[in-house]
Amino acid sequence: MTGLAGVAQDQENRPYFGDRLVQSLEYLRFKARSHNAIFACETVSRVVSEQHKYRLYIEMFPEQWKQSRKSLYKAGHFKAYSERTNEFYQLVNDRCFPLLEYWHDDPDLELERFAIPPMNFDLCCEEVDFAGLRDSYLAGLLFYFAEDDEIWSFFSEKYGVEKKELPPIKASPHAKVWREKQNAETKPYSDLIRLVDHSTGNPWLDVTHCQYPELFEWNKETVNWLTESYNAANQSFRNLENLDERIEEDAQKFLYQLISFWNTGKIDP
């Protein structure tokens, strides 16, 4: 038995040895082409990019980095990156926000910058499917599909509220609807209209499937900001539960106040 075989069979050292082996193969692959300037530029670029991800991994998940046995050299699921970088992507996906879905399902993809999937309902698609939406969200959609009888029929059948019993909806909202500062009474309505209008300032809620995705850079500030805004986006949808309860209590009053706020920027008594 050679010494190397002994090391390779050592349970404790096997991953370490295996990684060293992959590192050596990587080095030999490099040496075979090391005098090609184009390949050298690609190598420098790849090493710097990977190192940037490692630094971010250590900063954001120091404990996981210490315990990780994932290879720093062997390619992972996203082939352009090591298993360790792939582990970092997975951690971001599991602990911060959804990263590895929708846009990023191709293993050949380079993730030097990344996009986020839209969480909100698209108004720009040709065919709008209202099924599955919360009642409060549907109420917000009344302003954008005022002539669409489908939503009015829904409120009529479920809550007995008729369009003719409510004030006519103006074509555009009152300027006060968009004011940042709202009182406790108007804020839920303002938040709902902003949500439906995709004007929340939250990237998860404002982007749509129909637009070219915004690409984000890999740095701690951006990842933290996207994590916070993802949590805020989820909170926005949870807030709809309260509005749904109010609709169930008195749909006529809710729709009257919502339309009144849209038309005048305040809630008429």
Binding site: F30, S34, N36, A37, C41, T43, V44, V47, E50, S82
Partner: protein
């Protein structure tokens, strides 16, 4: 044609030697990945990348220019003709 005007001589007179990205790539591949690059090293790498890429572009544009150069008749008969 004076010897110094030969295309190969002009090329040889160019200041670049080995593309600096080749040297840096070799250096990076000799170190362990756990050993993280410092901010200065990353800045240096980005600078070298810019120089290396510029050199590749320059060489490729020279190459294209050579290929586009029209053929011209020589003013002597080569030996054997």
């Amino acid at each position: 044609m004076p010897i110094n005007d030969l295309p190969a001589e002009i090329l040889r007179a160019e200041p670049e030697r080995i593309n600096p990205a080749i040297i840096l790539a070799d250096r990076l591949m000799r170190r362990d990945a756990e050993e993280l690059l410092t901010v200065e090293e990353v800045a240096e790498a980005e600078n070298v990348l810019a120089i290396g890429t510029h050199e590749i572009d320059a060489i490729e544009s020279h190459h294209k220019a050579f290929l586009k150069t029209p053929a011209s008749a020589i003013d002597y008969i080569p030996v054997g003709f």
